[in-house]
Amino acid sequence: MSAANTAHSVVEPSTGTRRFAGLLVILYAIITMVPLVWIVLTSFKSPDDAISYPPKVFFKPSLEGYCNVFTTRSRQTREFIRTLGPPQGLCDKIARSRNMVVAGPSNYVPRFINSLIIAFGSTVLAVALGTLSAYGFSRFRVPLKDDLLFFILSTRMMPPIAVAIPIYLMYRTVGLSDTRLGMILLYTSVNVSLAVWLLKGFIDEIPREYEEAAMIDGYTRFQAFVKVVLPQATTGIAATAIFCLIFAWNEYAFAVLLTSGNAQTAPPFIPIIIGEGGQDWPAVAAGTTIFLVPIVVFTVLLRKHLLRGITFGAVRK
């Protein structure tokens, strides 16, 4: 709204229009939220409640899904369970009610840690490389600048599966397949194009005069970059970092093809959580819920920069 507009401007929608528009949007938002709410609810259901018909909205909450995601269990005879001492904590108690005992931790925790390490590692690298290049493209005369920038962007157009074939062969040759380092390098290379484009947009918005003033005061170009530009670009760098994090966190195609155990991340792992007799839906839902929490937090944090991120900086508001 420009300042020239009073509250009674001719182009202001009437209260009735607003209410009606709001109603439709809220209706869509609620429909959109149903699957998400459902998955969170399912994570607190017992396996029987999760597959009941009709689907239950009200149920007795249980932590079995969360237990099953974090532990492996082994089936035992009742006689054997009686000979054991008191249950070791809540999950053991739940397991014993089903004639099982907790055998050990599941693979979910290592997979989750892999996701964290690979996401953060690739983000730090991509943002570091991206900031330097973005500054270079923004402030210096680089030969073939536009071609280079377009080349950097075009690396994002490759279908991941197409890239995965030679990467798979290359990693197999140099011993990087199923390693965290290999995944970090790969995700860095995918993210760096986004980082360069986004950060170039942010740095373009910082007036050059700041650096010039600093350089006239005797700073070198590099000092001016570190002490003047970087502090100014903090918000942009943070937003870019979150975008890179989210990509690496969510990535599935490369992860499913290039990792099998050692470096496997959560997205390929969650769908293969199997209980007895098919998928253990509460456990899958619990694994999913834990995995989605950081994304929800980040989305709320990123609200203002979302548009930039999804359009590679093409639309800035």
Binding site: M33, P55, M157, P160, P166, S189, T311
Partner: protein, 319 residues
């Protein structure tokens, strides 16, 4: 800073003119610094993107199989390309892909623009609801595909239950993921659920970029709301809509995660998009040469279509 206009030109050329300043800038020259700043990124992309791409091109002319690395490699020339371009299965996959791209982009654009148009009316609390609507597009497509599989379960799934509730059919009488006619739509629904907010966000930016005075002028000229929409709103938001279509088109052409988890290309090959065909050829039957050729064809296709589209986009923008 006594002369801003020249000095800003100067940094653009990155050659300070005042000799006094030159002497005072110690350390690295700008040219060296530019090299040091840009080279690492380019090297990484060369190593992890371009080198593999060149390797793919090489492999696409050979009979190499990744599961038999020690077998002698024979140069085949363009045999794979010829066999792919005449292979009915490949054309079927391309058709499936095209269907998905057209339907998902169409639905997402109509829904997304509609939502953006409503949100632009700035009702109370629109910021909060917008954020809620945006959530699905931030999630992992793989995880989304996985929990929609649960919603689509014929006997226990919420989706089937809701459809049954409103249509009076039996909830276990239809299988969204196992039925030849329904499974493509099952994927379109999930994709629309996930990516409509994306189109909405870009369209919203487009609507907010239209200055109020144009509408005020239209009001003065007594233009009807309908006329205003067709003559002002839509044409001015068009570049943004096209940008959204471009991004969604490219992304959905590469669609893999969700399809792989929802249907894996099945039943039969009704939802076998190009990426799934490629995965089967490359990582299941290990026809590396063949799949490399297909990968190159896909890449050229995406790249070519995107380029044509960008030209059209620029023409719309320059109008």
């Amino acid at each position: 800073m006594n002369d801003l206009s020249t000095s800003s030109q100067i940094t653009y050329r990155a050659v300070p003119i005042r000799s006094g300043v030159i002497r005072r800038i110690r350390g690295l020259s700008d040219r060296t610094l530019a090299w040091i700043f840009i080279t690492p990124t380019i090297v990484l992309l060369l190593a992890i993107n371009i080198f593999p791409l060149v390797w793919t091109i090489y492999l696409s002319f050979t009979n190499y199989r990744a599961n038999r690395p020690n077998a002698p490699t024979i140069w085949l020339g363009t045999d794979w390309y010829q066999s792919i371009l005449t292979d009915p299965d490949i054309w079927a996959a391309m058709q499936v892909t095209a269907h998905f791209v057209v339907w998902t982009v169409l639905i997402e654009t109509v829904l997304g623009f509609g939502l953006a148009f409503l949100i632009d009316k700035k009702f109370r609390g629109h910021g909060l609801w917008t954020t809620i609507i945006l959530l699905p597009m931030m999630l992992s497509p793989a995880v989304v595909g996985n929990f929609w599989t649960f919603l689509y379960q014929p006997q226990i799934g919420l989706f089937n239950y809701v459809v049954a509730f409103f249509t009076g059919r039996d909830a276990s009488s239809f299988q969204m993921l196992g039925d030849v006619t329904l499974s493509p739509w099952a994927i379109v629904i999930v994709d629309a659920w996930m990516w409509t907010p994306y189109v909405m966000l870009i369209c919203l930016a487009g609507l907010r970029s239209i200055p109020d005075y144009i509408y005020e002028a239209a009001e003065v000229d007594r233009a009807s709301n309908w006329r205003q929409f067709w003559s002002i709103t839509l044409p001015m938001a068009l570049p943004f809509i096209m940008l959204a279509v471009l991004f969604r088109g490219i992304e959905n052409f590469k669609m893999f995660d969700m399809v792989n988890l929802l249907t894996g290309g099945g039943p039969g090959s009704t939802t076998e998009v190009a990426s799934i065909t490629l995965k089967r050829a490359a990582f299941e039957s290990w026809r590396t040469g063949y799949s490399s050729a297909f990968a190159i064809i896909l890449f050229v296709t995406v790249f070519g279509l995107a380029n044509i589209y960008v030209k059209a986009l620029n023409r719309v923008k320059s109008r």
